[in-house]
Amino acid sequence: MKTGTLVLAVALLAYPFVLYDHFYWDIGVGLLLAAISASAWNIVGGYAGQVSVGHAMFFGIGAYVPLLVFNLWQLPPIAGAPLAVALSLVLAVVIGLPTFRLRGHYFSMATIAVAELIRIFIGTWDFVGAAIGLQGPAVGRGWWDLTFRSELPYYYIFLVVLAVLLYVTRAVEKSRFGYYLRAIKAGERAARSLGVPVQQTKLKALLLSAVFTSIAGSLYSIKTGFIDPESGFGILISVQMVIVAALGGAGTLYGPLVGALILVPAQTATNTWFGGGGSGLTYILYGGIILVLARFEPGGLHELWQRLAPRLRRTPRAA
């Protein structure tokens, strides 16, 4: 496993120089962003088994606040990121406290409803640009605005954030908190009877997840310099996090990254083949993948690999 991690790290570090072209860099940046968002979702959705379908609310807050502080006070957008994290934490508490008292689908429903509520509300609120959205600085006033013409700096910034997130996830995995999470996922009643502070643990997982999802949103809007209700709070933003994580394997360390490695290039390919208007087809594809996954391989590629790997032992591979 150690060699696998090393190979993956080297491959991701070297990628922009192997495929030295803006087109590939752009895919790489999108891939890393999807991996960050899905890994953040993974903490509460995968490890704790509390399936949020409204994580776009944290992503959207993360995306909006940096551009908002720029528009209001001409601050560098990145200064808004900590504020966005704070807001996301408050929202996570507001949603987590009531819904985590209940089991099952409540949390999923509540997250969808709240995310939609916020999306519609933002779309009518002139202070944050209503349906039109917000723009970042057109030309960077200095390096602190983080407006680079090349994708390369973003690629490495995103890679660092992903590495930190995976490191944190790894630490969580090994900690008592991580065992609590898996116990809750396996059976809430059993976990409670064994003395796991269920509600508190779920809330902690949601808070940690919200922090990184918010950061992912900030990275997105700082990079693109533009945000509107659909690209920040749209239901498809949430869906993408779920599908990327579920494809690779929800509740596993590298699952979301593997899912992103497959899905993002595939998405780019469908968009290229079917033209720019092919976004609808992308979502038909998404729906189909999700459905088939749930029906036949709910553990994602991770579990499939675990089943197939012993059979392939005669041809050992590094990854």
Binding site: R101, L102, M109, A110, A113, V114, L117, T124
Partner: protein, 297 residues
Amino acid sequence: MWGSKDNAGANAMLLLQVIVGGLLLGAIYALFSSGLTLIWGMMNFINFAHGEFVMLGMYVALLVVTWLAGGPATFGVAAAFALFVLGVVVYLSLVRHVMRGPMLAQILSTFGLALLLRYTAFWIFSANFVSLPQTSLSGTVNLGGILMPVAQLVAGLVAVSLTVALHLLLTRTAVGSRLLAVAEDRNAAMLMGIRPDRMQALAWGLSAASAGIAGALMATAYPWSPSVGETFGLTAFVVVALGGFGSVPGALYAGLIIGLIQALSAYWFGPIYKDIVVYGLFAALLWLRPQGLMGKA
């Protein structure tokens, strides 16, 4: 020219019209939400594609009208039948296999189905709003001073009747007792000679059919696009959360209340606020009374 008294009178009439309109739409909410609550109460399973089922009912109505020149009775039955079949197929091929699996698989299965149906509809029918061509239900009727479209009136009344009928089916017939027996205790029902799989397939059929008819009814009175499924799905959640999980009468009252609240908030604050108010109410409800107004904890 206009005296203030006339104005007040006209305003009162307008308000009354808004209230009646809201209740009639609420009746349709009640119908499709009772389908959602049936599955939920029976199997503790949430169908995230329920709103898409309503949307499909609308397009079935459109296709029957444009291709077969069928009337409201024809396309209502057609939508009910088509969606009943779809519901049974979805249960047998998908839900049955994931319902005892991990939570993620349960949620993803119907969520994936919802995306698939929604975007396939976008692809086939485009994102444009459509409405049914003239049907025998076109025109308006004067009810003691307030003008109501006939279609809206008929749709609302039929929806109430069907919701009540579903309740009677569950509580007064042998089939209903078997359905409820499976809901109560699957294993005990099995020991009594009931086949849970059949009953659950039937429940899915009934649930989807209720959504299908509701869609067909709504199609007579309101324009729609493929994206309405998402809104209706969320509306159904709110109705079920308000009415209590598994309670058809609860869905009826809650549907009427939600329809009324939507109509009034659209009237007082503007149309864009109607969903904000409803979702906000849902969030508040989760805080204050998570088991629903009529539900037991």
